[in-house]
Symmetry: C2
Subunit: 352 residues, 2 copies
């Protein structure tokens, strides 16, 4: 684990330290747009097999790094590994997204939940982290991650993906204490999980709050932000004598980025609906920012993609603290050549 | 048409004139949560029949007013009547939402589009407006509406509902001039359509920009806001010697509400993800605000629903200019008794 990290641009930018150029990685950089990913996925037989077999998770994690000059690897996994380890019957139905066969809807459902021991029920993830870290051999840092308690809870209560979040919102209005109990279980589980990832070799961690943006601001503070703050406060701060930066990402946070910046994390993910310039205004430069190209720009012709990428780079303005990324994950229909165009544009960028 | 309007609270509040209490209506107040709506819908045979037969549209428009003390009627219709009148083959598949059999994807598809004459191809809507206005007999004002060009274009290009808006975004990046041509056709069609609704008796109009929030701020300005501004500028300002207020609603506008407030409309719809207090800050009280209860609060027990409603009322603060509404439409699973609880709470409210 003490291999020297040869490219530490990401870690420095996440801590707002100066870097000679802006580092970049891409959410879902290991994914269905890559033919080599689709081949491994076909061999594995299922998405879940990729997540649960460390060798396969390692293989797909490294695929985009073989192809592109990226400044970070991100653990190939899913935000629903915790409910999977809680034995809720996670399945990925083709074209339907995740399904949980045993959703959590009553007080007794919550009573029955166990906090997974990461070295046992989530061992497959921790082993994958260690293996990836070893295979990376210090090329770039490895990012670990987890879903936010609110986001993971929404899948657990809804039983899968949702449009209106009717069930979990009903629970929020009808039985807020029960929902808080569920969030507390998930908060404890997530702290153990992320700290185990750090112990196994993750050099930065990210919390994905995909669904915090469906709440009113008051509900967001109470049911999503608070759990994220508790997690951030309990994270291992250093590994190998180096700070482990934390990134929080609420999709659709908008002007609430200012409050998110105050929970103690080092950086915020920003989606494409907020300009980085506005985001710096909201956060008062207290944190680094990661983002925020519209993932659909990767469907554009090269010239338009370059222009939109340039716009994102310039919108951040001067000074350190920008990690280039998309505002959400790469979609399957993207041409891998476009990702190359994007990366070249970011690497060539020199602020005016 | 010159029947005296006995309850003009809505029109006054939309113009920021003082009212003895805050008026309220509810997006999708005529809808599937009402058993009488479901009965008419079953009799009609399809959702489209309800929209295209003036007597049926009138019947369902008036249903919530028979049941509840609401301060406005809103035309029962759909934001896709314009593509329907353009002969794009609109169908509503059960559980799938709208489908357009002949989507608009190429320059020649756009060339072929006709701007519907509201007195001919959209006659069924205009007749419904006149009929509803007559049947209302001055009880409350009638609100007409249309979709924003960006929102309607998204259905036309995608061929129906969409998650990622990949096709229209690809067009935006690849062929922005073509998309602008499409938006211009829709802008002209929408001006004619809304002015015909006003001529037939609509006393206020609302533009629904359901999907403006999926754009970057720069794209939102160029591809959604601009068309809405052009429409607002071309609307008939007065009817029966009275101002016809206009309401613009971009779901997910967030901090961009400030720019939306500057397009010349009288009021803005606000979804539940922005506090009304923040919205007043963004808009500098230049416009009235309409909103913004989380529609899921109607699934809550009465006490929680009252508390959440009270919170919305109080968040607006003092002074005129608040029209109470939901932040989006009522969902089908709502118990009609909850709507009664909501209405009583709003009507009983007296600002501290």
């Amino acid at each position: 684990m003490s291999t020297t990290l040869r490219n530490d641009l990401l870690l420095r930018a996440l801590l707002r330290e100066p870097t000679p150029r802006r580092p970049l990685w891409l959410m879902r950089q290991a994914g269905r747009y890559l033919p080599e990913y689709r081949a491994t996925r076909a061999r594995a037989g299922s998405f879940l097999a990729l997540c649960t077999q460390p060798e396969l998770a390692c293989e797909v994690t490294l695929q985009p790094l073989e192809r592109y000059e990226l400044d970070a690897a991100i653990l190939f996994s899913d935000i629903l590994t915790i409910p999977y380890a809680m034995n809720l019957g996670l399945k990925f139905e083709t074209g339907e997204g995740p399904v949980l066969e045993r959703p959590v809807r009553s007080a007794s459902d919550i009573d029955r939940l166990i906090v997974p021991d990461p070295t046992r029920e989530l061992r497959f993830v921790i082993d994958a982290v260690a293996l990836i870290r070893r295979e990376l051999g210090g090329r770039v840092p490895l990012i670990g991650f987890a879903g936010s308690p609110w986001t993971v809870a929404s899948y657990m209560v809804e039983g899968g993906s949702s449009k209106g979040f009717a069930r979990i919102k009903r629970m929020m209005y009808e039985a807020p204490r029960e929902l808080h109990r569920l969030l507390e279980v998930l908060t404890r589980a997530t702290v153990l999980y992320l700290n185990a990832q750090i112990a196994a070799g993750a050099q930065a961690v990210m919390l994905f709050d995909t669904w915090g943006g469906v709440l009113t601001p008051a509900q967001y503070r109470e049911f999503s932000l608070r759990s994220m703050q508790e997690i951030i406060a309990a994270l291992t701060r250093e590994a190998d004598g180096r700070r482990v930066p934390s990134i929080a990402f609420t999709k659709g946070a908008g002007a609430l980025l200012g409050e998110l910046a105050a929970i103690g994390c080092d950086a915020l993910g920003v989606d494409w609906t907020t300009d980085l310039k506005s985001a710096r205004g909201y956060t008062g430069d207290r944190v680094a920012l990661q983002g925020n190209l519209d993932p659909a720009a990767l469907l554009a012709p090269p010239e338009a993609l370059r222009a939109e990428t340039q716009r994102v780079l310039e919108s951040y303005g001067e000074g350190p603290g920008h990690v280039f990324n998309l505002g959400h994950g790469i979609t399957p229909e993207v041409d891998p050549a476009r990702v190359q165009t994007l990366i070249e544009t970011v690497r060539a960028f020199t602020p005016r």
